[in-house]
């Protein structure tokens, strides 16, 4: 959406410093609109698919009687982790931080914690 680095772009670029993180995207959890991408966009995933997946999981969890809000989704393949993290926000519709991780370089437990901490800083 432009060439100049914005505050959002700077925040997303910093997330690439986490070990094994190859791509991140900030996504509107309701509309699927992607607000920003850093690193490999294909590794982060598309906004519409991420938001639809999160909505489906929320709906099914709710139908099963689960109480509370979705915090994260982790999908693991033989070579990659795909992570969706809910981003805290003081007001407005929820956002998702989508991240692609290289399994060989990322410790998923540490990565989840690190991304979670940094996700809160994205919109600070």
């Amino acid at each position: 959406m432009g060439e100049r680095a914005t505050a959002l772009q700077t925040s997303l670029d910093r997330l690439l410093e986490s070990p094994g993180v190859t791509g991140v995207a900030l996504i509107d959890a309701v509309t699927g609109l992607t607000y920003g991408v850093a690193g490999d966009a294909a590794q982060a995933g598309t906004g519409t698919e991420a938001s639809e997946l999160a909505a489906l999981i929320c709906e099914r969890l709710g139908a099963a009687g689960a109480v509370g809000e979705l915090e994260s989704v982790v999908m693991t393949s033989t070579r990659r982790h795909q992570v969706l993290l809910s981003v805290d926000r003081s007001a407005g519709d929820p956002l998702l931080l989508a991240a692609g991780l290289d399994r060989d370089r990322a410790n998923i437990t540490l990565a989840l914690r690190g991304l979670g901490d940094r996700a809160r800083e994205v919109l600070a």
Partner: protein, 281 residues
């Protein structure tokens, strides 16, 4: 100012993008709106059909009215107001960028609910905008995607914009029988904001949410049996532009929405019907 020939608004915006145009496109019609461009990029869209970034910031409580007025007094140039809001820590730069960008896409969606009657180019008008702005092509593609998704999930988006949902008492509505809530907080608040009189646009303005997000959530809630509405009963071919209702107002003292204009008869009988395709915006 010269108005370049273009077959529709997206084509016009694309041509202006290639020219690096800075100025304003005034689109007439219902709802119509104003599109602000800087160096060929779309920085803001203002339309009666959807909340602007300013409406979103104030209605959602991100910035209170007093702080907003003080900020506007300190920085009278609206084109630079975003810089002032961030510099004074009223809002984070990334958060403001998200709000302003979302408002651009939502405004384009709202304007696409009905075909435009025409457009004209005018001089640059200062406004709160996203920087550097949105390119016309992804904006048009996203608008088309939104219209197509709503059509696939429910039906014509223009008709969905006119429904007046109400809550359904039952297990999905925790207020009805005291069972544990199975809806997310966002969905619960949306259900609580319905009363059978508000349209999705009214709800969007009251809550400081996007029109498209509200419509999408209402479809999901209808499927879950949490809300309901009378389908496809309005002969008028345009979305509601009834006055918005403040969020703090309760259902009991809420005024009835103002009635729209009477439908116009045409020679040969029948009512006019709107083209609900994604041609505008």
């Amino acid at each position: 100012m010269k108005t370049p020939s273009a077959r529709n608004v997206p084509a016009l915006l694309q041509a202006l993008h290639q020219e690096g145009f800075s100025g304003t496109v005034r689109v007439s019609g219902t709802p119509g709106g104003t599109i602000h461009l800087r160096d060929g990029l779309i920085g803001a869209i203002e339309t009666p059909g959807a909340p602007t970034a300013t409406s979103t910031l104030l209605a959602s409580g991100r910035i209170d009215d007093d702080a907003w007025l003080a900020a506007c007094a300190a920085e009278p140039d609206l084109d630079r107001l975003d810089l002032h809001l961030v510099a004074t820590d009223l809002i984070g730069g990334a958060e403001l960028e998200v709000v302003c960008t979302a408002a651009v896409f939502d405004g384009a969606f709202a304007m696409a609910l009905s075909p435009p009657a025409g457009w004209e180019l005018t001089e640059r008008e200062p406004t709160l905008r996203t920087r550097p702005g949105v390119e016309p092509r992804p904006l048009a593609e996203e608008t088309t995607r939104r219209m197509a998704l709503l059509s696939r999930l429910w039906g014509p988006a223009g008709e969905l914009a006119r429904v007046r949902p109400e809550p359904v008492p039952g297990p999905e509505n925790p207020e009805a029988d005291g069972r544990p809530a199975r809806l997310t907080r966002r969905h619960r608040e949306l259900v609580e904001s319905t009363n059978g009189r508000r349209t999705p646009r009214d709800i969007a303005f009251a809550g400081g949410r996007g029109l498209y997000a509200v419509m999408l959530d209402l479809i999901r809630l209808e499927r879950r049996g949490a809300v309901r509405w009378e389908n496809r009963t309005t002969p008028d071919g345009r979305p509601s532009t009834a006055p918005r209702v403040p969020s703090a107002q309760t259902a009991a003292d809420e005024p009835l929405p103002r009635a729209g204009p009477l439908p116009r008869r045409r020679p040969g009988g029948g009512f006019p019907s709107g083209d609900l395709g994604a041609r505008g915006g």
